[in-house]
Amino acid sequence: MRSAGDAWFKRIAFAFAASIPVLLLAIIVLLVKQSWLSIHTFGAGFIISSVWDPLADEYGALPFIYGTLVSSIIALIIAVPLGLGCALYLSEVSRSKTKEYIAVMVELLAAIPSVVYGLWGIFVLGPWIANVVQPFLRSIFGFLPIFQGPYSGLSMLSAGVILAIMVLPTITAISREVFNSVPNYLRESALALGATKWETVKIAVLGPARSGIVGAVILGLGRALGETMAVTMVIGNRPEISSSVFAPAYTLASVIANEFAEAVSDINLAVLIELGLVLLFITVVVNGIARLMVWRLTSKVKARP
């Protein structure tokens, strides 16, 4: 016996729930509509052009796409080994109480506001990178073009390092969950064969965890691609494609942050919104792949008798 009140409650709750896909659709439709001027004017050439001159109404997205991808890749190169090491410590090595504190600390890294990372990046990390890291890299790998050119705290490398710190909690937390989802009897089987801790991880843990780890890495990538403030504050904001990671660069999110409120013309605004659309597209695809991989792993483990 359903009362009228029940029917209404259900309807209202559904209206709120249904507003989520409606919002998502509205975001995509409105962004396409508002950037239509730019899409229409520049076409596909927009993506591959590297000229950026708002005053002359010349726009190309390539330097930003390049900056976004390269800074995120640098972040992954640093954060993946650190995050996996951390996750191994938390789930496989440590049994002591300290591990809970470490876990909280790594989680807190995710709670620090982006703008605070940016401030710290400008005054602490940037100078350290320019004075210590870059000279060190050049002294050893100086024959590589990516480690040449003048030292600079505001650089692609700084952006990569700060992004690495920001995605580290994501990679650590998800890898840790993935490791924890590996059933304990596999570890015991390896130990019973006389395996050391490392060998146990190698033969019993990494195999089943593989696709989950890839998922964690890609989720980290998704986060790095869309990160705005900290990167904007340390990357130097120069729309050029340089072969050196010591040089300043620019990302999709950064150029939107810097120029949106001061767009000089309708077409300029449309271009910036199209950059937002490109960023939206990249992150949604990357996150979709990651979720699929994590989901496939967890469903496989659950399917075991």
Partner: protein
């Protein structure tokens, strides 16, 4: 013998990486504390910003502005998140539910600055003015996926027997849901809400061209409004040491709020994950 060495190298690497991972946290917190504490005083919380060169001044309006914008975000985000989550938990085991869950997942992966563009197009362009409303709307959307997900999970954890016991008392279903199920799940839902409030309090990017900024006290939601994060950003990228000090002080205040809420909430509930 080499097996032993490999094992030692493995342990060494794992310890070293873990150590390296926590260094940034310690560095950020100690810099913010040491640099911020020296620039913080009572005026900082109560006064307006002053032009460069004038002594004193504070961030009072930005602190108030942050509360206004976050409050607006809650007005936008909480009803959708909570009722959406309840609907998903109780009636969402079907195709509609799948679509909504999927949409929430996609929404959570959209960069916040893109959400800012959406709020700009929808509100700022229409009102022809930057406003706290636009900023709150953007932050509200950012809250939705987290709140929806925690609400759904928490409501699902309430045992079905409780639901049936409520119905057996002769209460209509919706009253059982709101009075018994929702209340039972509330502490978990509250945890999710607070974590997501902490997260949006630290957001900057979507506010840059929605709430924008202001040098004055403002309590009207249709006017440009200063927030702590945007103010910190502006001070940080300025060339003046005096303003840099303000940026550190602002960061200390912000971190105190954000980390404080996060830690407190964590202490009371260890189940909910951040982000």
């Amino acid at each position: 013998m080499t097996r032993n060495i490999k094992e030692k190298i493995y342990l060494l690497i794992v310890f070293a990486f873990t150590l390296i991972a926590v260094i940034p946290l310690i560095s950020v917190i100690s810099y913010v504390f040491l640099q911020g504490i020296s620039a913080i005083n009572w005026d900082f919380f109560t006064r307006l910003p002053v032009p460069f060169g004038d002594p004193g001044g504070g961030m009072g309006n930005a602190i108030v502005g942050t509360f206004i914008v976050v409050g607006l975000a809650c007005v936008v985000g909480l009803p959708i998140g909570i009722f959406g989550g309840i609907w998903l938990a109780l009636y969402g085991n079907n195709k509609k539910g799948f679509v909504i869950r999927y949409a929430a997942d996609v929404l959570s992966s959209i960069p916040t600055i893109v959400i800012g563009i959406f709020a700009y197009v929808l509100i700022v362009l229409v009102m022809k003015r930057f406003s706290a409303l636009a900023g709150g709307f953007a932050l509200g959307i950012i809250m939705i996926p987290t709140v929806t997900r925690t609400t759904e999970e928490m409501v699902k954890m309430v045992p079905r027997t409780l639901f049936e016991a409520g119905l057996a008392l002769g209460l209509p279903e919706w009253k059982v849901i709101m009075r018994i199920i929702f209340r039972t799940a509330w502490s978990g839902i509250f945890t999710g809400i607070m974590l997501s409030v902490a997260r949006i309090t630290g957001e900057t990017a979507p506010l840059l061209f929605t709430a924008f900024n202001s040098m004055y006290w403002n309590f009207a939601v249709d006017q440009p409004t200063a927030t702590m994060t945007v103010q910190i950003y502006n001070y940080a990228i300025s060339p003046f040491a005096q303003w840099h000090a303000k940026a550190w002080a602002g960061s200390l205040t912000l971190m105190f709020i954000v980390l404080g809420v996060t830690l407190l909430v964590r202490k009371f509930s260890r189940r909910v994950h951040y982000g």
